[in-house]
């Protein structure tokens, strides 16, 4: 099993969710985060004084999928979340030791199905 962590631009969340649904992935966890990579901060103004906001709002999507799905998922996320501009985000892939469905106790791939 693989855990896919994707940090994307917030307005791309719907596109990514729909794209994942089309390849058969239904479950995910989403959180609002802030961050930056090469994307520099932007300048804001308040009452005559400028200040730099370095941390940009982003959305982090986390999902755990079976090994054979992992490549399809990362490609789908890249296609849906990309805008060809700096700040599009990154995807990280981790190995997962185990997954359990709380209601039934199923483990492994069965818990992900």
């Amino acid at each position: 099993m693989k855990k896919i962590e994707a940090i994307i631009k917030p307005f791309k969340l719907d596109d990514v969710k729909n794209a994942l649904g089309e390849i058969g992935v239904e479950g995910m966890t989403v959180s609002e985060v802030r961050g930056f990579g090469r994307q520099r901060g932007h300048t804001e103004m308040y009452r005559g004084a400028e200040y730099v906001v370095e941390f940009h709002p982003k959305v982090k999507i986390e999902l755990v999928v079976t090994d054979d799905q992992a490549e399809k998922v990362t490609r789908a996320v890249c296609d849906a979340a990309g805008t060809n501009k700096i700040g599009d985000g990154k995807i990280f892939v981790f190995s997962v030791v185990d997954a359990i469905r709380i209601r039934t106790g199923e483990r492994g791939d069965a818990a992900l199905a």
Binding site: E44, Y46, R47, G48
Partner: protein, 461 residues
Amino acid sequence: MKRKFLNSALAVVVAGSILLPGLALAEDGVTPGQFTANNVWMMLAAGLVFIMHLGFATLESGLTRAKNTTNILFKNTFIVSAGILTYALMGFNLMYPGDFSLGSFFGFAGFGIATDAAGNTPAYASGGYTYWTDFLFQAMFAATCATIVSGAVAERVKLSAFMIFSIIFVALVYPILGSWKWGGGWLDAMGFYDFAGSTLVHSVGGWGALAGAWLLGPRIGKYVKGQMNPIPGSNMPMAAIGVFLLWLGWFGFNGGSVLSADPELTSFTLVTTCLAASAGAIAAMFTSWFAFGKPDLSMALNGILAGLVGITAGADTVGIASSVVIGVVAGAIVVGSVIFFDKIKIDDPVGAISVHLVCGIWGTLAVGIFSTNPEHSLWVQAVGVVAYGVFAFGSALAIFGVLKVTMGIRVTEGEELEGLDLAEHGGHAYDLAGPTSILESVTSASPAVGRPTTTLAEERA
């Protein structure tokens, strides 16, 4: 013939007994109906001035950070409550002593509020209002003066010290200084004019704000390494709502200062007031656009208030075009003033000093420039500005100074960083923690019996 005569006579008597009471002139040429109308308007005006406290509360909450909101609201709640009570105890009779005992500088008509029967008749104030209406209307003004200070000292003043300061300021400083003009004191005798309080309320409050902000020092992180870091407000809708409520309150602040429901004067005053407010807004918008490259909402809001404060000294005695000019100048200088005070490192989170002190002075001097009354002079207005400056600023410095060396007027650095809501009140105004609040709402109801807990003091130690 006799019957016709009797019928006519009867008709005249009946008609007369219905009409005459309405036509009867009570005292001072005011009919009972007019007395009631005047008093109703004045009571409504008192309610409108009260709304300004709602405006201050929301405006200050909007322009400061969410971690201090409960503290700001608490201060605003305290000021109006303590203000009305102290005004009843002594303020009203210090401001309107009747007879002065120390030259025309100080007089005191005794503790408490009470009146004889004549106080509730047209004999009291030329038929403008009753004694009780007089007290209430003026009490609302007194509390307004103190609340101006709370914005400038926000986010770092120690609550207890601020409460002591505001009690002394509202109970003693405001009414004694006010008696010099509205109570018939020496400035009134000189011909000084302040229609609704540009000087007596706004600049006095502004001097207190300046003294407080200066002695307190800036908020942590505001001026770092020679750079001015803005600390943006947490809620712009609240700030905007606050300013519009203040504008609404000004209908009573200026409209009621006519001290009757005189149709010509009240309606004219409301027009000059609204023209100045509008002009102030536009002027501030374009001044900030020109100065910063982008139009700033908080500056536009300050501009409305600047225009209102500016017109307050002469709303009944300047012309239509003059009221617009007064508003435009006020709107422009408030922007410059905010920049200036930041340059000299006086941290004023809401711009209270710029709006109330600087524009209060402008409004007072503007009477000397624009008034249609030939008895008003720029020189006398300037004398008043200086006199109030010396005594209002001096007393505020003295009060804050004594408090600073005795109990301290500023919270600790740790308290300021974690937020006054938690430090001074033990609770947040908003659900700041986000997701963890889900946990709090589930577990907070369980009793602490048998489970070790730490107090805030221990956590901070």
